[in-house]
Each structure stands twice: as C-alpha cells, then as structure tokens.
Amino acid sequence: MRPPREPFFWALFSAGGMLTALVLPAAALYLWVSRPLGWVAAPTHAALMAHVASPLVRVALFVLIALGLFHWAHRFRYTLYDGLQLSHLYGLIATICYGGATLLTVFAAWTLWRFP
C-alpha cells in the first residue's frame, strides 16, 4: 500500500529529473572538466562571488540543488528496494532518503541565504 504522499515525492522526482537532465551535463563538463583542464577561462573569485550574490542566481541555484536532491532521494529509494531487495526496510530507507534530502536542502537554503 502506498501512502498518499507518494504523488508529491513523485512530482519532485520528476521535476528534478527534467531540470538536472537539461542543465547538469553542460554545467559539469564546463566546471569540472573544461575549467580544470584550462580549455575555458576560469572565472575569477571576485566575479563568481558577485554573480552568486545576485538574488536571481541564488534562487536558481537553490531550485537546482533542492530538486536534484529530491530526484536522488526518490530514485535511490526504489533502487535500494528493487536492486538490493530491501523492500522490508521500507520505512527506514524512505526516512533516510527523504530526510537526508530535506536536511541538505535546508543547509543549501541557509548557505545561499547567508551568502557571502
């Protein structure tokens, strides 16, 4: 039996899946491959600070981080149930996955709110 909050988490999973699918490959290749290899000009510390400080960028980063985390929580939960045959730990796994995503989302909100 599925609890009625399932559609809510599914909606977060789905929105997170779409947003990260569209945005993350390009961002990851740029920031973590091209930048360290020197293929692209690395932004200076001051320029990065100024851009992240803008409210619009902060909101965008928060949405991306939060939805990405809840995408992980939902999908990883079912991967543990099916892949590792852990469906008997239903409640524990759900608590760890959604609880972890919630805590990290709160931390992201706090960090971006207090930035710099």
Binding site: T20, L22, V52, L61, H71, F76, T79, T111
Partner: protein
C-alpha cells in the same frame, strides 16, 4: 510485508532473488545503471553547493578547491560523473513520450517528435548554461 500478519496464512512460497539479479541480462543492467545515475545527480548538486560554501569562506580556500579539481584522479572521476549525467539525460529524454502525450489539432504528435523536441530543449539549455558561465569569466 509484515510477517506478523501470517498467522492463519499458509507458508509463503517465494523464490529468493539473488542480490545481483540485474547482472544477468543487459537490459536489467542498463535499468539499474539508469537508476543509479541519481547518485551522479546528487553528487553534482552537492559539489556545486560545496564550491559555494568554499568560495564564501575565502579566496585561498577556493584556490585550493580549484587545484583539487585539476588533480588527475579527481578529473578522471569527474569524467565518469559526466558520463553518468549524460546517461541520465539520454534515458530521461527518451522516456518523455511515455509521460507526455501532445495533441495537435486533435491528432497525437508521434513519439519521435516529442523526443526531438526534448533534445532541442537540451541543446538550447546547454548553450544557455555555457553562455552564462562564459559571461562570468
């Protein structure tokens, strides 16, 4: 399933599945790999968050972080993360016609058109991301 509810129930007949059941067949392995790309998604957003925390801390800490990104083992790991992220995107967009039925003038848009639309969106989003990041540098 709670075993306490078995009181007047005949013994369950259930075949035990091995933990690595998904290694036996390519389509199962692809399914579990697709599901596990969520780890790459979580890692990527947390690494973004880590960089924000570190650069807010100090410029020196941020320089050390950037040097760490350039270390060959870290770079190799991040290439793997990028591959997983691309796999996430491709599998996600390919499933779009299963979740989305677009009707145009009373007729259903064919699956390939829905997929093509999503890939166009991916291209546009990627160009926008690179354009925004280049704008900062």
């Amino acid at each position: 399933m709670n075993p306490d509810y078995r009181l007047h129930h005949p013994k369950w007949h259930r075949q035990r599945m091995p933990i690595f059941w998904w290694l036996g067949k390519l389509s199962f392995t692809k399914f579990i790999t697709r599901e596990l790309t969520c780890l790459a998604v979580a890692y990527a957003v947390l690494l973004l968050l880590a960089e924000i925390v570190i650069m807010a801390h100090s410029e020196g800490a941020h320089e050390r972080f950037l040097r760490l990104l350039a270390a060959p083992p870290v770079l190799a790991f991040h290439l793997l993360v990028c591959a997983a992220l691309v796999f996430h995107t491709v599998t996600w967009l390919n499933l779009a016609p299963k979740a989305l039925v677009v009707r145009l003038g009373g007729r259903r848009l064919p699956d390939w058109a829905v997929v093509a639309g999503h890939y166009t969106l991916w291209l546009a989003a990627s160009v926008a991301v690179v354009w925004l990041l280049r704008g900062i540098s």
